[in-house]
């Protein structure tokens, strides 16, 4: 309700007037039947929005899974991606964000290896990308068979971990959105039928202004 002021002040001796009284009263009556507004509510005082200050410039969203690539036991937190299964979201790599229209700076990273199955000789034709609201964003797709993306000494019979990383800067409309970190593995299955993804992390920096 806005700050409103009576129009007239009735003084002793004034002639009583319906017009003056109504005009003064309407100043308040307008607001009583109107909406509450910024005059009454401080920014961020609505309970549903207390999680994030409205004047926040940057909001940090993150999800991470830590695994031990030398874990020969339970292979805790490893995530297996089979060959030729299309785009697969890495385990736990999803963020659900609700906010105003903003610029999202999304970072996704992980490490993969061929363990624990016996060494394969096939080359991993692997790609990774960021998926927003179910849609793979082409600009974020990285990978392929180029030498840049192969782990060093891939064919050596050693334990090899290869890091992958991609990022994306994109404008997002207001509302709720899902951000996912996805990979796909295409290979000759008899030579390389899966990869194990170990530690992984998905970060979204919501830049509101």
């Amino acid at each position: 309700m806005s700050w409103r002021f009576p129009r007239f002040r009735l003084r002793d001796g004034n002639a009583l007037s319906t017009d003056d009284t109504n005009e003064s009263f309407l100043e308040s009556a307008d607001e009583m039947s109107g909406r509450l507004n910024e005059h009454n509510w401080a920014s961020g005082t609505i309970p549903a929005r207390t999680d994030v200050d409205q004047d926040a410039a940057f909001v940090w969203h993150q999800v991470a899974v830590a695994g031990d690539m030398f874990d020969t036991g339970g292979q805790v937190n490893w995530f297996e991606v089979g060959a030729n299964t299309g785009w697969v979201r890495l385990g736990g790599m999803i963020l659900t964000i609700t906010g105003p229209s903003a610029l999202y700076w999304i970072h996704a990273s992980s490490v993969y290896q061929r363990r624990p199955t016996p060494p394969h000789t096939g080359l991993p034709y692997i790609k990774w990308a960021i998926r927003v609201d179910g849609q793979i964003i082409p600009e974020s797709v990285v990978g392929g068979l180029e030498g840049d993306f192969l782990p060093f000494n891939w064919n050596a019979s050693r334990r090899i971990g290869a890091p992958i990383e991609t990022n994306l800067l994109t404008s997002i409309s207001g509302g709720q959105h899902t951000i996912e970190f996805c990979v796909r593995l295409d290979s000759v299955a008899t030579l390389l039928n899966h990869l194990e993804f170990v530690s992984r992390e998905l970060i979204c920096l919501e830049m509101r202004r």
Binding site: G13, D19, T45, N155, S157, N167
Partner: protein, 737 residues
Amino acid sequence: MADTRYRYRSETLPIRIESGKLLTPADIGSQIHNMYFTAEGTLRTVWGPAPYVPNYGAGYPAYNEMHGIYHTTMWGGTRDVLLIQTGDEVWIFEGWTTGGGGITPWRVLIGPGASNPDQPAQIDSDRRPRFPAQFETTPAGVVIIPRGEGSRPYFYDGQAVLPLGYDHSPEPPEGWSKDAGYDHTAGTLATALDPTAAGPGIALDQIPRGRLGMISTDGVQVDDTTDTGRILEGTYRCSVQWIDRWGNLSPLSSPSGELRVTASHTAHDITAAGLLQFARVECQLPEVMWTGIPEGPTGTIGRVLCRTKDLKNSGTTKMFELPPNAGGGTQAFSTLPDNVTVSFPDNIPDSWLIREPDEPEAVVPFLLYKVAFGRGWAANFTDDPSRLQYTMPGRWGTFLKENRIYPDPSGGEITGMFTAPEGLLVFTESSTFLIVISYGGEGFQTNTLSRTAGCVAPSSLAALPDGRIIWLGQEGFYAYTPAEGGGSIGVISEPIERELRSINRARRLQATAAFDVKEAKYRCWVPHDASIQNNRCWEYDGEGWTRRTDTLAADVCTTKDHRNYMLAAGRATEAGPIARDGVWVLDHEVRSFAPASRPSRVVTSWLRGLRAAAQRGSPVTVYLWFREMSSGTLNVEVQRDWRSDVTQTASVFLHPQDDFPAFLGPTDAAAADYGGVDPDGDPLTWERRRPYWTRADIHVPSAEAFRLRITHTGDWEFIGMSFDEVPHPDSFRSAPK
């Protein structure tokens, strides 16, 4: 006793406006003071003002001398913004913090560090003649130009306040590069890439590669695998540009020192197996690193890196924006979308450099700012008062070097700007110009509207609903009437020209005006009679002028929301009397603040009956048409024969005598009490206040002319008057006395 057969009665004179001329129509007054024009067509006493922030018991907020006020809404009308400048500080109103004590519900937005402001600044407010604080709404926020010696423009978006644009450029970065080509020592690179070591290995030309540098293939045979060309020696330079949260760009930094790429040729390595391996020359292109990238001032959200192409071989020395590595390409808003990173690995080939950077100037403080054509227009720069400069579209604090205009060829200081339907009106003290889009389609051009009519007070500019724009100039108030291709300018204050002579010319630049929506009047406060404060308000309804003195307004505005209040920042006097600085709601009155008693007045022009125009006459009766207002009386003073002496004072009732209205309160013996009965014993009923006639017998024998001064310090409402006059052609008087 005069014979009533010789009486002549004048027409009813509905006096609504005033004139300082000696001879005026009878229905134009000599003075209409502290009376406002009601919706019913009457004149009623000015009410109020009311303090915008009441005294909740702990006193009023500690205002200093007021210098500016502005109201606007943002975010599609959901953010209400009321800004004032009081002393050295700019405050913002936060209506939800009423009970906090101190200056609540105000908060210091800009001010000295000791005031705990959002934006520390030394405004250095003083009492020298200056424009009031200037404000202008843009789609992204408000430009604030405080009033003071140390002022500079600021920008407030409803959440954050920062200096508008950048007033300095970044420092240049420093470049680093590896030598082009590889270490040829056997056992290092060669060993690592030995195809015989394990499995198929990776060919040398599959390793990650740089993209900078230029390759010459002169003399290379198509099928030659041992000589695939050579990298030419080249140099690069880099600059930095900041970008703030509203998209404003800083000037480019000076270029970095030259970064050298050494010449090289086809690589060959001796493998561990003793094989000679050749790699194509592209494998040896370098990438570089820019370090020492300066962080920007508060509000910076990104840095744009700009790099030359190979200065020795590309044939151009221009800078180009580097696209970011993360994404966005050339459409990204900056190379580094942060204000933290200090280094940037640069592997952007020359062929990706497409977009040349904008090259803004550092923002120099200025005094005036308006939005027009989707750009911000700044004028009256402290280092160049005659310069007009516009921003990039939508970047409200980014001024490109080439976007300068000097409207006045004689170099006159720009003293005002206002947006008209045809373009942007720009004023000097003695000239008026219209800025329009260039007939050529690019840029803007200046049309001269007047070489004699200018504006002396930028805050006196306001528009009427009929499209006219009004302002205070050297000769009085002017109006611009829009028309296709450029409108016309004319003086509209001729009737009050005599009164305007007493404007304090040394301080007329501080005049301030706004259009009152409810009364549909242009109101302009000016300093009169050597006052250093704006002590008189002139009101114009499109036809004539009236005056009021209820506040000393340093600045005024009309709220842009549904309330349409006219707010004044300045001084009002409380009963006592107690002079108080603050923010005032005009034309409203509350019980917690009783304004000091002040007169409201209607003074007629010098009157004569029509039939007696060429002779002396004796007005004998005046009939005054009021609306019933209160239980009291008011005085009617009579003057005669062009003299200021009051020859008679008559008293008339402010209510009809034969049919009393209901009055509030028990204090008047003649009035019935609220809640009681009328003199006939019938229950009181509330009515719209009724008009009535009253009369006063006056004694002005054989006068050439007479006039009435109807003055009252309470509430009253005037409708009109007429008078009876008896001609006295054979007067024994030879001259007026």
